[in-house]
């Protein structure tokens, strides 16, 4: 319970579909059993089709999110182009491994569509080992629960997977954000979910 990964709680999941990907997170921020906030999104955007989900220690979630905003801004200025999902994933990996012996307590998830229009998702451990998955990635205190399970169908699937998982995890919940990423369209939906 005192693991840095489960003090604040949280859940994140990414899935691939046909020519699209989805990434979703809950909104809870807590201190053990006490809920501090019910509006703490854990998904961040780094280019029109690159999204990063971060669960774990909330202070590290914010720090790491800002660190990548800085790094991606520098990349964009130097390269004069948007960062690709796979490039971003490798940036995440190497940045986390830099802190090999004093890691950020986060479990990142990357979701995006690459230049060829192909869906890309992957997950990491806290020191940057990449898990390239074809189907789905989960992270957070509800990750056990999340494992139990065309764009609209994908939205329904990821939403049901997330909502039913966080309802069985006391440390996650209080609504959700769901992003459906297609080649040249991103739909963001806010799910209310159970408020208990």
């Amino acid at each position: 319970m005192s693991s840095p990964f489960s003090i604040n709680g949280g859940a994140c999941v990414a899935m691939t579909g046909k020519d699209c990907v989805a990434i979703a997170c809950d909104l809870r921020l807590g201190l053990q059993a006490l809920t501090i906030s019910n509006n703490f999104p854990k998904i961040f955007s780094y280019s029109p089709s690159v999204y990063l989900g971060l669960t774990g220690l909330a202070t590290d979630v914010s720090t790491v999110a800002d660190l990548f905003r800085y790094k991606v801004n520098m990349y964009r200025l130097r390269e004069e182009r948007q960062i690709a999902p796979r490039t971003f994933a490798n940036l995440v990996s190497s940045s986390l491994y830099e802190r090999r012996f004093g890691p950020y307590f986060v479990s990142p998830v990357v979701a995006g569509i690459d230049d060829g229009g192909k869906p890309f998702i992957c997950g990491f451990d806290s020191i940057g080992c990449i898990d390239f998955a074809k189907d789905f990635i989960v992270s957070g205190t509800a990750s056990d629960q999340l494992l139990g399970l065309g764009p609209e169908d994908l939205f329904e699937t990821i939403s049901q997977a997330l909502l039913n998982a966080v309802d069985r995890d006391a440390l996650s919940g209080w609504g959700a954000h769901v992003y459906i990423i297609e080649k040249d369209k991103v739909t963001k939906r806010l799910l209310k979910g159970r408020q208990d």
Binding site: F5, G56, D125, S126, I127, L149, N164, K192
Partner: protein, 262 residues
Amino acid sequence: MAAIFTGAPPNSGPGYSFTQTPAPTSASEPRQHAFYPYTDNGGSTLGISSSTFTILAGDTRSTSGYNINTRYAPKLFHIDSADPSSRLVLSVVGFAADGEALAERLDTVVKMYRYQHGKTISVGAAAQRLSHVLYGKRFFPYYVHAILGGLDEEGKGALYSYDPVGSYEREQCRAAGAAASLIMPFLDNQVNYKNQYMAGSGVGHELQQRDPRPLERKEVEELVRDAFTSAVERHIEVGDGLQMMVITKEGVEEVYRELKKD
């Protein structure tokens, strides 16, 4: 998950009942011996009840730590199978030795009830009795999560789930054991239709929950198989075989199916 911080092997050691013998010391030095009477044998069980039947299921793998003791150790027990009108099945997961001891205790208790009263015990009475049996060992518990299945007096499916010290509740469905956290949200969604609403029934708080309906036997068997094949993919302590017991008014039918052995 954060593998290096939380993904430690189950328990700390190889998971035997006996802790490692201390290293030899000089003759007069005090030595500490330890005996831990419990082992987690892994595995998972699950039960679903419907209008005319109850299905209990469990995988047949038995583990200690990263070792597999056997690929066939049943976790389902037909209670008082000598009585042709018996419709009781007990499933136990956790410490297998305690599970078998508990099944034997309940079997005896149910038999004694039949001998003394000249009739088969009702599932409600058996359920309460099992709670008392578990609580009787409140300070040295049976290290198991038990699920009791049967048919109630109206012929409807009955399912009771227990914690190790006898706290119990009648439910529609329950998953227990190593993969309970993987299976339970799936059951919430597919049996009780949690987070599912009727299309076009309104917005926000006007939304009507999709009403749960009694499931058909074929549907339930499919849910059970899906739950276990998925659990096998993501939990190392679950696998080898799936034992199912289907309790209907005709009797108790046992079904065995292979699961992945890796």
